[in-house]
Structure formats: structure tokens, C-alpha cells
Amino acid sequence: MSWLVADAHSRDDVLALHPALAANHQRLLDEIWDSSLDAVLLEYCRLRTATILQNQIAWDEPRSAAAITAGLDESLIAELTKWPTHPGFDAAAKACLGLAEQYVIDVHGITDEQVRELEGQIGPDGVVTLTTALAAWEITHRFDNALLSSATEGES
């Protein structure tokens, strides 16, 4: 539901107010999911930032098709808050999730060492893709929070 458009029931319904922007927003998301960065890592970070920014809608919508194809394990998604110590998350996942959390909580707290470690795990192209994805998802999470309400808000 949205207070902006009376009969809107989804993000797409609201974005339809600006078709050109909606199309280019979707294109950006498509490029991110089609990139060389492991879609499972991307989906971990999308959902983790959704939790931190309290966007229940991102949790309620279907998981990324690219991530499912890449082998997303739903049992690990259920353990996402435990990523720092959970053995199911490897070094690359931990480096990505660490940056994702720092990005949305205190972006100025990101360090040279942190980025070097991340680059060692996913390469410079991965770093650029991940940081752009984090920007895109922060936009999306805040857009949802500002303009939509979830019937199940606050459950994640």
C-alpha cells in the first residue's frame, strides 16, 4: 500500500508514476544481477541491508532469480544475522557483508584495509559492482520505507 498512489500495491506501481526512471532503475538492477559478481553474495547483501534499514518489503518479495540459479541456500538466509561467526559464510561472503553493513551504518568508517581485503576476495570489478549495488539497494530500501507500507512490517 502507498499513500502516494491510492491503488498502488507495490514498488513498481509507485515507480510507474515516472516510467523513464522506472525503466532505468530496472536496467541498473538487471546489470548488477548479470554482472560477474556471485549473485548469492549480492543477495546476502541486499537482504542484510534491508534488515538494517528495516525494509520488510525486500524480505517479502521473491528472492533474486539470479541468486537462486547460483545456488542460494535459504537455510543460510535464515542465519544471515549470524554471518560473522557462522561457518556457512565463507571469507568472500564475510568481506561483502562487512562492507555492506559498514556502508549503511557508517560509510565513513570503511577503511583502506577493508577494501583491500574485499578486493582480494572479489577483485576490483567486484568491488565496483558491489558498492554500486549497495547504492542501488539503499535507494530501493529507502524508497520502499518512504512510499510504501508493508502489512507484515517489522517481522524480519
Binding site: N24, I32, T132, A133
Partner: protein, 65 residues
Amino acid sequence: MSTTPRVRSAVDGKAPSIRTVMAHSSAVRLAFDTMYATLWSNGTVDVDVKELVRLRNARVTDCGL
């Protein structure tokens, strides 16, 4: 705040900058730039208002660029 790229340039002979670093993921960068351009060139919100919001957002988030 950091305004020096932490990732090396993707363009031989060019110093690291936001442009040359983003070139590591050129398709994603192009899509981002296209969306950004649409924000500025389309819609009913006056461009002066958009710039005020951009600057205010930069101040709030302490963006050194």
C-alpha cells in the same frame, strides 16, 4: 572522509578517479549513469530544487566530493 579512490584505475595510463575506477564494471556504471541522467533530465521537479536536495544530501552524508 576519503576522496581518494581505494581501487586502482581500470584504464591504463590514467590515474585513479571515480570514472576510471568505475570502469572496472563498465556495464553497471553505464546503467547507473543513465539512471542518474534520467533523474536530472526528466520529471516535474524543478532542476534547481533537485540541486538543492543533492547539496543538502551531500552535507548530511558528509560527502567530500
